[in-house]
């Protein structure tokens, strides 16, 4: 007999940590983005996706609203806006 022992990554859905967001969430303005990918690289959750200029987006199921992506963007193309509960979900 075996109890809880190992977990396969594909069976693990992850907690919807987006519900933790308190004050702010990032808004990707899609105006001056140069696709440097730094926002995707620096996100602690790894929930920023995108490839070409102005194509980057956040999976708000997981975004905790830390603001590091907005801080790193060299073109200041990400604004931290007050979380109003109406996050876009793609």
């Amino acid at each position: 007999m075996f109890g809880p022992l190992t977990v396969k990554p594909k069976e693990s859905k992850g907690d919807k940590t987006g519900s933790w967001r308190t004050q702010f969430r990032p808004e990707y303005l899609h105006k001056n983005c140069i696709a440097c990918r730094m926002c995707a690289m620096i996100c602690p959750e790894g929930c920023v996706y995108g490839k070409e200029k102005n194509s980057f987006w956040v999976d708000f199921n997981f975004c905790k609203g830390c603001g590091v992506c907005a801080d790193i963007c060299p073109k200041k193309d990400i604004a931290m806006v007050v979380e109003d509960g109406k996050s876009e979900e793609k």
Binding site: M1, G3, T6
Partner: protein
Amino acid sequence: MKEFLEGSHAIAEIVKACRPGVVSAYPITPQTHIVEDLAQMVANGELKSEFVNVESEHSAASVVLGGSAAGVRVYTATSSQGLFYMQEVVFNIAGMRLPVVMTCANRAISAPINIWNDQQDSISLRDAGWIQIYAEDNQEAVDFHLLAYRLAEDKRVMLPVMVCMDGFILTHGMETVDIPEQEKVDKFLPPYSPLYKLDPAEPISMGLLADPDYYMETRFAIQETMKESLGYLSEISSEFNGVFGRDYKDLLVEEYQTKDAEKVIVAMGSVCGTIKEAVDQQRAKGKKVGLLRIISFRPFPYARIYEVLKDVPRVAVLDKAVSLGGYAPLSVDVKAALYGKKKGPKVVSSFVAGLGGRDITLESINEVFRRLTAKEVSSDFIDLKPELLKEEYGR
């Protein structure tokens, strides 16, 4: 093939035949010769294995944990302080359900430091979730390693196994031993086929955090597996007998002249050889005595013990360990087996002997039979030297 050799060398031979892929151990008397032999075998190309010389027992156990998790058969050996140093890893290995096999060359526990034999070390780790089997002589020590791997890797079990052999007495004693041939070993022990392992082809996470919602079931599962293993031990023993022609019956206990006995000693390990001789001598004089030898200490064969002892009027449990402040450990489990039953001995006395390697002679055993009277005694020390005891220190 029969050979006359030192116990440690015999163990190295059987471990070699079991084909472990990773061997890691830290030297501690009296286990050293086993591991030195294995190192030489690797150096000569006789044993194809990764031999990892670690910087402590904690790491030795961690190395074999990692090796086993990566899907390879592993081996380690230790004693006494080493076993205690790796204690948290020992519990970890059982909790992670990895089939590690370890030789424990039983040795006394510090302080004071003492390198000679008693069973305090392995008995102190009885709660860990490892199956523990105790060898009486070197033939058993050899055979038990083979049985250990077979049992540990059984997909219904997946628990680590500790083969306990008395330090110096067995490890350094020379006996004639039949070392099983490689082909027969391969027949009895197929290559390890893991239920779960670390492999990029099929990633898994092992050793997760289990909060109160998940932890208890893991312990329950091990407890259930331990109970089931009482049956698997018998199963594997009869399989072993079929291949090697040596019958360990149920691999739980050995009944030696217990059928009509009026006094029975319960004991574990090499001391049973001495006890058997004492029993023979007493029987020759017409005394009805016997020995119940415990082979499997964990899982503990409560039902079998009751079966054997229920009609025996007086039982003496001989412990080679002590639980300071309480009843001696083996006697506790024996009494638990007998408690609350309709039948049972009138007296179950507990004796402590052989601590720190103090010799248990035929005379010691006869003394145990003598002290097994109608008056029950508890943790009665045999062969104590009162002249060494003083009420106050520094005088």
